[in-house]
């Protein structure tokens, strides 16, 4: 499938800037996204191909302006809602509630 994820040969992304002694995760939320996504395979709601495809379906701007684990997070939200594990309404409500509690 053609899409923005097909980056090979594209120009204009600038230097690579490898980070010395990079940690496995940079934020605790990245740890949780990784763990939940891998544990989620066990639930049978998605397989690796669906996982990858859900990331490839992201909009070009969102794809290029967000990080790797944000891609995973978007994938999880998309697939778990599509596959009926959770509803968008309950996810939105929970997010709002947690946001209020954190203030």
């Amino acid at each position: 499938m053609n899409g923005v994820h097909d980056l090979g040969g594209m120009h204009g992304f600038g230097p690579i800037n490898p980070e010395a002694n990079e940690p496995v995760f940079h934020h605790d939320w990245e740890r949780r996204v990784f763990g939940v996504a891998i544990a989620g395979f066990g639930g049978g709601y998605y397989n690796t191909d669906q996982f990858r495809h859900a990331i490839e379906r992201m909009g070009a701007v969102e794809y290029l302006s967000t990080s790797y684990y944000e891609h995973w997070l978007a994938m999880l939200e998309t697939l778990l809602i599509e596959r009926g594990a959770i509803t968008k309404q309950e996810l939105d409500a929970r997010r709002e509630q947690l946001g209020r509690e954190a203030r």
Binding site: I16, N17, P18, A39, G42, Y68, R95
Partner: protein
């Protein structure tokens, strides 16, 4: 926002994963202990030290090296490294004539059992876009300068296949033990953006 007495509000992804995880746990769709165990495994147990052991073994044992190049998956499993994202491994050997570099232009396919989780730059647009077009320039950014007579081969991973570069054993390591050799092998040397430098003082 500008009141310094308040701690920063949680970031957007922080809230989103918290909401998602709490719902999945309530519905008993995931086990939080399993999530913790997965995180711990990939943060502390699986990483490029595994791949370094494979490389060091190949450097000291020609028969192992032959098996590794013939069937990477099987030879790597001999050392106990198996599992997701390592089901179909191809090992490519650097020589005086050929230098190999690995990328995944489409996403971020990477051999987890031997190298752990990939670094940010491997997953980001600049490397994925450019290494297939200008590999020598990319290698220079990593401080790796190849002479013009060395052929550069770039291997683009796909959904099933994962590549591991077998770097050249450096000069000055004659008689070293496997353990000593493994210490020299960096993650980047097994991706192909670095080489393993010669040891000792150059004469």
């Amino acid at each position: 926002m500008s009141d310094p007495s308040h701690t920063a509000p949680p970031s957007d992804p922080e809230l989103r994963i918290k909401a998602l995880e709490s719902l999945l746990v309530e519905k008993q769709l995931i086990d939080p202990d399993a999530v913790d165990a997965i995180i711990e495994t990939y943060e502390t147990k699986i990483g490029p030290r595994n791949g370094a052991r494979v490389v060091a073994r190949a450097w000291v044992d020609p028969e192992y090296k032959a098996r590794l190049l013939a069937d990477g998956t099987k030879a790597i499993a001999e050392l106990g490294f198996t599992g997701v994202q390592g089901e179909d491994m191809v090992v490519v050997e650097n020589t005086d004539e050929v230098h190999n570099v690995v990328v995944c232009t489409l996403c971020s396919c990477y051999p987890w059992p031997t190298l752990g989780l990939p670094p940010v730059w491997y997953k980001a647009a600049p490397y994925r876009a450019r290494v297939v077009r200008d590999p020598r320039g990319v290698l220079l950014e990593f401080g790796t300068r190849l002479t013009e007579d060395v052929e550069v081969r770039v291997w683009d991973s796909n959904a099933e296949l994962r590549y591991l570069v077998l770097p050249q054993r450096p000069a000055g390591t004659e008689g070293w033990t496997e353990e000593q050799l493994a210490e020299l092998v960096s993650r980047d040397a097994m991706i192909g953006t670095a080489i393993v430098p010669a040891q000792g003082t150059a004469s």
